[in-house]
């Protein structure tokens, strides 16, 4: 069966693990992509949670600054933001290094990618989490306040667990966006899955084979993530009455 496939589509053998196959390269790219997506998602969640609380409970200046941040980041294409932040961050770090008397450094693609995509994710996560917090029944928070809970403990023990079930669908979407946005880092020359695929494809001329294989890998990530998020959502909704 496999033999027949190989003879029918000889380019399939290029997907083999060891050279002359490019399988190992694709897998390395996939690992890089997942690593960056996980990092950016974590950064985005932290920024998003802080941003949501800032937007809801912050002072007027905090709120306006956060509004500017979410509006600008959501209005400018990720590709442009990646370029601006990539150049600006490397430039600033290097100027700081030189000013303090150190040699210039090359910022690793992983760190830059995580930072840049994290800032982008943070803007979207802020809006998702803000909406989810607003959907927490006011009575729960009033009860917590009536019991004399300090604000931080209310946030940790009441608001966050209750808002999680509202936020999970939006956060699942964000994770899928994060995995797909890693492909944009191919533009700044970072060897994630899409760029590895393109290199493999252009050196073997088997464009369709490699791009379809990479597409299957991305699709696999999406489908597995959807399953995992369904499990997480069921866990987050434990104890809730089944809606009719």
């Amino acid at each position: 069966m496999w033999e027949a496939l190989i003879t029918a589509f000889p380019t399939l053998s290029l997907l083999a693990w060891s050279p002359p196959g490019w399988g190992a390269n694709l897998m390395r790219g996939l690992a890089n992509s997942i690593q960056i997506a996980l990092g950016a998602y974590a950064v985005g969640l932290i920024i998003g949670t802080a941003g949501a609380f800032g937007k809801l409970h912050g002072g007027p200046v905090t709120r306006d600054l956060l509004a500017v941040y979410t509006t600008v980041v959501r209005a400018v294409p990720e590709l442009v933001l990646i370029l601006i932040l990539y150049f600006a961050v490397t430039d600033l770090v290097n100027q700081a290094m030189v000013a303090f008397g150190y040699a210039r450094i090359q910022i690793s693609g992983v760190a830059a990618g995580i930072a840049v995509l994290g800032v982008v994710q943070g803007a979207y996560a802020t809006e998702v989490i803000r909406g989810a917090i607003l959907a927490v029944p006011a009575g729960q928070l009033e009860a917590a306040r009536a019991m004399g809970m300090p604000p931080m403990r209310t946030a940790w023990r009441i608001t966050l667990p209750l808002m999680l079930s509202n936020a999970i669908p939006g956060l699942a979407n964000l994770w899928l966006i994060a995995t797909k946005d890693t492909a944009l880092l191919a533009i700044v020359g970072f060897a994630e899955l899409t760029l590895q695929t393109r290199q493999a494809a252009s050196s073997t001329k088997a464009f369709l084979t490699f791009f379809l294989a990479a597409g299957a890998l991305y699709l696999l990530i999406t489908l597995v993530s959807t399953l995992i998020f369904a499990i997480i959502e069921r866990w987050a909704r434990r104890g809730q009455r089944p809606s009719t």
């Binding site: 400018v76 442009v80 601006i84 797909k180 899409t194 464009f207 597409g215 991305y218």
Partner: protein, 256 residues
């Protein structure tokens, strides 16, 4: 408007104006006049791509959504698979698959090379249009599925009870109500589509992003073209948001 100008907002606006002035005076803008025609063409091409792909994509999305919401399984299943595949893979990959993959496949067939379509298939922009259209259709198919399902059943039953033919129900009742429900989401998705257009620069279509990259490569000026790019995209986003707000306000609604 009286509520808007709090003291802190006046200070922030002053800081913003100071930053803009500093950008205008301290950064280099002498390249601007030379590249102005190119920039105009780039903006026009971006807008054109956005308008064409969003319109075509939406026209494909209607049957996709309808098939998933009410179609028999042999129509619903392919529609769902199409939406899942499009939404599950990066647009950049789809674009490169079409341009490099199909683009390298087509010349092998003499029938295609001798057809009237060949002059178009040799250029990059048809691939950009197809990729962006399919992507928009995939995302909007999902939106329209929800919108079609969300139309109250009583409306459709009333139309059926009046003896309306099925196509008339779709044209006069179901589709308008579904679009009305989906309009806020469609506005957001159109902004996302705008933000997807710069990807076509990677397959040599010269949109505004490609123009900015060229300025960067020609003059070694890094930040100024990127700032201009960000401003252009923010202005277009603002226009899209305003246009959809205008559309939403035109729809009479009884629910406040």
């Amino acid at each position: 408007m009286t509520n808007f100008w709090h003291p802190h907002r006046i200070v922030m606006a002053a800081i913003a104006i100071a930053i803009i002035l500093a950008c205008a005076l301290l950064l280099r803008w002498d390249w601007l006049p030379k590249y102005l025609p190119l920039i105009g063409q780039g903006i026009w091409r971006t807008l054109w791509l956005l308008a064409v792909t969003a319109t075509l994509g939406f026209l494909i999305a209607i049957p996709l959504g309808l098939a998933q919401a009410a179609g028999p399984w042999y129509l619903a299943a392919p529609a769902r698979i199409f939406c899942t595949v499009i939404r599950g893979t990066p647009l950049l990959l789809q674009l490169w698959l079409l341009y490099y993959g199909l683009g390298s496949l087509f010349p092998q067939f003499p029938a295609i090379r001798e057809s009237d379509l060949w002059p178009y298939l040799r250029q990059a922009w048809p691939y950009a249009v197809v990729a962006l259209t399919l992507s928009f259709a995939g995302y909007e198919g999902e939106v329209m599925r929800g919108a079609f399902k969300g139309v109250p059943g009583g409306q459709l039953e009333a139309a059926r009870a009046m003896g309306m033919p099925r196509t008339t129900i779709l044209r006069r009742i179901w589709l308008p109500l579904a679009i009305q429900r989906a309009l806020p989401t469609l506005g957001g998705e159109t902004v996302l589509q705008l933000k997807a257009t710069p990807l076509v620069a990677t397959i040599t279509v010269v949109d505004i992003y490609a123009v900015a990259s060229r300025v960067r490569q020609d003059t070694f000026i890094v930040y100024e073209p990127l700032l201009l790019l960000a401003v252009v995209y923010m202005v277009i986003t603002g226009l899209i948001v305003l246009a959809f707000r205008w559309l939403e306000n035109r729809i009479p609604s009884r629910v406040a």
